[in-house]
């Protein structure tokens, strides 16, 4: 089913400058895999070399961190939104 992935500003250059990308997926893990297949430049920003989600990138399904759901295996439904929330440090 088609769900929305929200791409934050710092990662948009690696996602064809798009802020929202729709993918057909059954789980959060599927959705992220499809995303990096469509946009290979995103891979190193989201995953470490061993394929794990990087520790300075959080993935939320709606308003919950997937680390506290079923991680990659968290099922998604049509109305869900996945948000990628990378750490940013700017303040000056």
């Amino acid at each position: 089913m088609s769900i929305k992935l929200l791409i934050p500003t710092p990662l948009r250059p690696y996602a064809g400058k798009q802020s929202v990308i729709e993918v057909n997926a059954q789980t959060v893990g599927d959705a992220l895999n499809i995303l990096v297949m469509k946009h290979p430049d995103l891979r190193k920003h989201l995953f470490s070399e061993d394929g794990k989600l990087r520790s300075f990138v959080n993935v939320y399904l709606n308003d919950e961190d997937i680390r506290y759901l079923s991680k990659d295996a968290t099922p998604v439904k049509e109305t869900d939104t996945i948000t990628i929330v990378p750490s940013v440090a700017g303040g000056r």
């Binding site: 500003t9 710092p10 520790s55 300075f56 919950e64 990378p86 440090a89 700017g90 303040g91 000056r92």
Partner: protein
């Protein structure tokens, strides 16, 4: 939540009562709340984009003691957003400029001045005499330092960060709530996440986020409302959307978890830099470079040199040295525009992107590609001083 601030010993003069009258008549503040504000001691780390609105509003609201930490000097590029500092302050210490403005707004505020770079050695001493810390810094090392020091010294950290049109805000390191490391256990390697200096920032964005920080600081002092604990507010100024995400306290957090592994402060530059520094030197070490003076001499001598500019078109529009423009991201698909038999000097704004471009070109068979040291900024400083800098 237990009261953070005891205002019972504070007293307000008639002048102060008049000044704060719009607070005093509100049931959420009253005289008791204003006395808490007066008794409160808040440390603002940074007096830049976030620190400016934060400190201005805290001073105006009557926070009794404001600590300021900054070692930086005001420059022209700060003025688009750092509203504590005026054109006439360029070249002055930000902290001196800040103290002037804050004292002018509210002479009843006592200001503590820390003209220093916050580090593992001084942070606990500096934090000691404050009740709340508000983090408006601009780098990961200081953000992890502030977080860990807040957890270890038991002080709430009212947090915000910004990039271009987007910001994040939360309160970390309260007793029951999560800390910054619960949200982000580790920093990104250097270079992977652009800073405001590299990526730009909308001038009003730190205004929005700094005012959120000020609001949360004041609520913590008053003990009023629902504090932004365990929630991360995401602000998208371009879409003008505010979203809220849950942030949970991680029971395995290395600093605030049940069995912490970080029980004293560490070397935060190393924590935030070691991997990136290694990969950075590994790639830049073998990249051939040219000084601006050498390029100028050889261009003047009519040598056959192709100048390639790998910045973005909007940067080219600000200033250029008539190089052929191919943004770094487009280089792989537009490489056919280049002649591998010619000598190519690549430049960007300050040299980092062009180093990546030279690395890519060399690995694609362009044996005569070199990187202009310091980019167009160095050219504007040392060769053609009529050019604008940005």
């Amino acid at each position: 939540m237990a009261a953070l601030i005891d205002g019972s010993q504070a007293s307000l003069s008639n002048e102060e009562i008049l000044r704060y009258s719009r607070h005093l008549i509100m049931p959420e503040v009253t005289l008791d709340g204003q006395k808490k504000l007066k008794a409160a001691r808040v440390l603002c780390v940074g007096t830049g984009g976030l620190g400016s609105p934060l400190a201005l509003y805290l001073a105006a609201a009557g926070v009794g003691t404001l600590g300021l930490v900054d070692y930086d000097v005001v420059d022209y590029t700060n003025l688009q957003r750092q509203v504590l500092h005026y054109t006439s302050d360029v070249g002055r210490l930000k902290i001196d400029s800040a103290i002037d403005k804050l004292t002018a707004i509210n002479p009843f505020v006592e200001i503590k001045r820390f003209d220093t770079y916050l580090d593992s050695q001084n942070v606990i001493d500096i934090f000691r005499d404050f009740d709340i810390v508000s983090d408006g810094t601009d780098n990961f090392a200081t953000r992890y330092l502030v977080n860990d020091a807040c957890v270890l010294s038991g002080k709430p950290n009212v947090y915000a960060s910004i990039f271009r049109f987007e910001g994040q805000a939360s309160i970390f390191a309260t007793e029951a709530g999560p800390c910054y490391r619960c949200l982000y256990p580790e920093p990104p390697p250097p270079g992977l996440v652009p800073s405001c200096a590299e990526g730009g920032v909308l001038g009003v964005l730190p205004g929005l986020l700094g005012v959120i920080q000020a609001t949360e600081v004041i609520k913590l002092i008053l003990g009023a409302g629902e504090p932004l604990i365990g929630r991360l507010v995401l602000v998208d100024a371009l879409g003008m959307r505010f979203r809220e995400l849950h942030v949970r306290k991680n029971p395995e957090c290395p600093v605030c978890g049940a069995n912490p592994t970080v029980t004293q402060l560490i070397d935060y530059n190393q924590f935030c830099g070691i991997r990136g520094d290694e990969s950075e030197t590994a790639t830049t070490a073998k990249i051939p470079e040219i000084q601006p003076e050498e390029l100028k001499r050889r261009l003047d001598a009519q040598e056959d040199i192709f100048v390639l500019d790998v910045r973005e078109p909007h940067e080219y529009q600000i200033v250029n040295i008539k190089g052929h423009l191919i943004p770094l991201g487009d280089l792989p698909t537009r490489i056919h525009e280049l002649d591998s038999s010619r000598e190519i000097v690549v430049h960007c704004k300050s040299g980092a992107r062009s180093a990546k471009a030279v690395d890519f070109l060399r690995s694609s068979g362009f044996k005569h590609a070199t990187n202009l040291i310091g980019g167009i900024l160095a050219w504007a400083d040392r060769i053609d001083t009529t050019l604008p800098k940005y």
